[in-house]
């Protein structure tokens, strides 16, 4: 019997961890209207996963399927190995959520609302609500109907974070927060990740996604068009470089290996580089360079690139 138990423990230790989120060929339609089509991706333990897309791309639909509010027409969505539709109640024990359009019970007080939500989840650690409210500078004594948009969002954040759930599904969580609170929000997200929690973050705030997320999925017209680590995603994009030489150069010497000359002067050349930068560095090594500025592409460049290109092509996870 003991041997059998040891065997199970050994087998479990050898098994890969169950992914917090696993979506395979997920399709959701609203009658004849598209929701999402054939989405496949996985979110790993302790990861902050960014989910990007323009309005109407299918982000909220995906999130609602994950949370069990919508039933998919095809494919599967699993949280910690459990089906998001048939195992909803069990799934929700491991989940904390902020909806994109956060609606609260207007007539309730803030603390009354948070305690009510805490009881629905089976309770929270003592002083947990107060500690989070302190961090976010949220007045617990107010009535919800008297709160500003930003303060309502803080209530949403406290209700999501107070449970210390292993998975956070956050749809536009920082909307309405002032810049100071955004910094605190990002600190809180990093702390959650450090505590081993997984965060699925849908956001329009690209700099926030860029600073927080490990990987990003971009969805467009209901389909996944990119799914990569942020750095890899950015590396694929065109970067701009300005080089000042100590003597006049012929710009044509640089036009190779994906390098494009954008602007030229007698001693200054502005270049655009796509992908690998090593060929350019090797070329530059042959010249006497006085100065070099290299602007890193930001996520906005990546984001806009995927939205402008036609048509949306499916990306395999």
């Amino acid at each position: 019997m003991l041997e059998h138990g040891r065997l199970i423990c050994y087998a479990r230790a050898r098994m890969p961890p169950i992914p917090p989120i696993e979506v395979v060929s997920l399709t959701k339609r609203y009658g004849r209207h598209r929701g999402v089509e054939d989405l496949t991706f996985q979110v790993g333990v302790g990861e902050i996963f960014g989910f990007l897309g323009p309005n109407g791309a299918g982000k909220t639909t995906t999130i609602r399927v994950l949370v069990g509010l919508l039933r998919s027409n095809g494919g599967t969505a699993r949280i910690f190995g459990r089906d998001c539709w048939t195992g909803t109640e069990r799934v929700h024990r491991d989940l904390a959520f902020i909806p994109g359009d956060l609606r609260l019970y207007e007539s309730m007080g803030v603390v009354e609302f948070l305690q009510f939500m805490a009881r629905l989840h089976g309770g929270v650690r003592p002083r947990r609500i107060e500690a989070l409210a302190d961090r976010l500078d949220l007045d617990l004594g107010r009535t919800i109907k008297h709160l500003s948009k930003g303060n309502r969002q803080k209530v949403g954040l406290v209700q999501a974070l107070m449970h210390e759930a292993p998975l956070l599904v956050l749809d536009e969580p920082s909307v309405g927060l002032d810049p100071l609170m955004e910094v605190i929000f990002m600190d809180l997200m990093r702390e959650e990740r450090a505590a081993g929690r997984t965060i699925f973050l849908s956001s329009h705030n690209l700099s926030e996604v860029e600073r927080l997320c490990d990987r990003v999925a971009i969805i467009r017209e209901g389909r996944l068009v990119a799914l990569e680590h942020i750095d890899a995603l950015k590396a694929k994009r065109v970067r701009q470089m300005s080089v000042l030489f100590n003597q006049p150069v012929d710009p044509r010497a640089f036009e190779r290996d994906g390098i494009v000359v954008l602007d030229r002067g007698e001693r200054r050349v502005r270049l655009a580089v796509r992908g690998d930068i090593n060929p350019l560095i090797r070329t530059l090594a042959a010249y006497d360079v006085a100065d070099l500025t290299f602007s890193e592409p930001d996520l906005e460049d990546v984001f806009l690139h995927y939205y402008k290109e036609e048509p949306a092509e499916k990306v395999d996870a």
Binding site: T88, P99, L102, R103, M108, G156
Partner: protein, 269 residues
């Protein structure tokens, strides 16, 4: 069922429930007082008064023959058969449409149902809150009758109180059953409330028409009002078991159907 949800609903609706309960208690006591003034003290005048009223109007208020001159008949005609029904149906329709359809419409359901509550337990928690609220209103109504009867020295048998309590609760549950059904399948409060109100009015119209025209008498059985006779419950001190089963059965079936559809539907505002 989730007690946290039930308590929250009752707390948020406490003022409304109290208003309906106190209003019903006051009105039922007033009707008992009027019974003493009109029927006991001025029987002849009242008999003459009834002869000038159109038959259809009397039928609408469930007044027939000499039934009105009994305590149960008067209380039924003047309050429990019509006005109490309007008050309680309005309360139930407002409560049930607010309980689910409004949460969908306003989007609050998105957050609550992301908690480990479960849709069926969410639904049943709301049903439990309504049942408790209905019992409070029925109890207040009976309390009003008891106080009125006591003050006017009218003897009412405990069996009559029990019978009218059971029948009124069963009737309220039947209205609640289909109202919850509409609330569970609609995405807007107005649509849920409108459908429930329309069905209630239709039930009343069918019963009214079937009692007025003999050709339609068979249709009466299709209406919940056919099975709700507070006059008989008070006068006889018992509830017809068939009527109770129809009302309670309708409540049960429509509640189960509502819960099943709510479990399967997409939820988004």
């Amino acid at each position: 069922m989730n007690p946290t949800l039930t308590i929250k609903v009752l707390k948020m609706q406490a003022q409304t429930i109290a208003s309906y309960a106190l209003g019903s208690a006051f009105y039922s006591a007033l009707v008992v007082f009027l019974f003493h003034s009109f029927i006991v003290q001025h029987t002849a005048f009242f008999q003459q008064y009834l002869t000038i009223l159109p038959k259809a109007l009397l039928q609408a208020f469930n007044i027939s023959g000499s039934n009105i001159f009994t305590f149960g008949g008067f209380l039924g005609a003047e309050y429990l058969s019509f006005i109490w029904v309007v008050i309680v149906a309005a309360f139930i329709i407002s409560f049930t449409s607010g309980a689910i359809a409004r949460e969908i419409e306003q989007g609050t359901i998105e957050l609550v149902l992301a908690y480990p509550v479960g849709r069926i337990r969410f639904f049943l928690s709301k049903v439990a809150a309504l049942v408790l609220a209905l019992l409070a209103i029925v109890a207040a109504t009976l309390g009003g009758i008891w106080v009125g009867a006591l003050s006017q020295h009218i003897q009412v048998a405990p069996a009559s109180f029990f019978a009218i309590g059971v029948l009124a609760t069963a009737f309220g549950l039947a209205v609640a059953g289909y109202s919850f059904f509409f609330s569970a399948v609609a995405s807007e409060r107005a649509a849920a409330a409108g459908a429930a109100a329309a069905v209630t009015v239709l039930f009343y119209a069918v019963n009214f028409a079937s009692s007025l025209w003999s050709q339609l008498s068979g249709l009466g059985r299709l209406s919940i009002f056919h099975y709700y006779s507070p006059q008989d419950a008070i006068n006889l001190g018992r509830v017809d078991s068939g009527s109770f089963l129809v009302l309670f059965g309708l409540a049960l079936l429509t509640t189960i159907a509502g819960a099943a559809l709510f479990r399967l539907r997409d939820l988004s505002p």
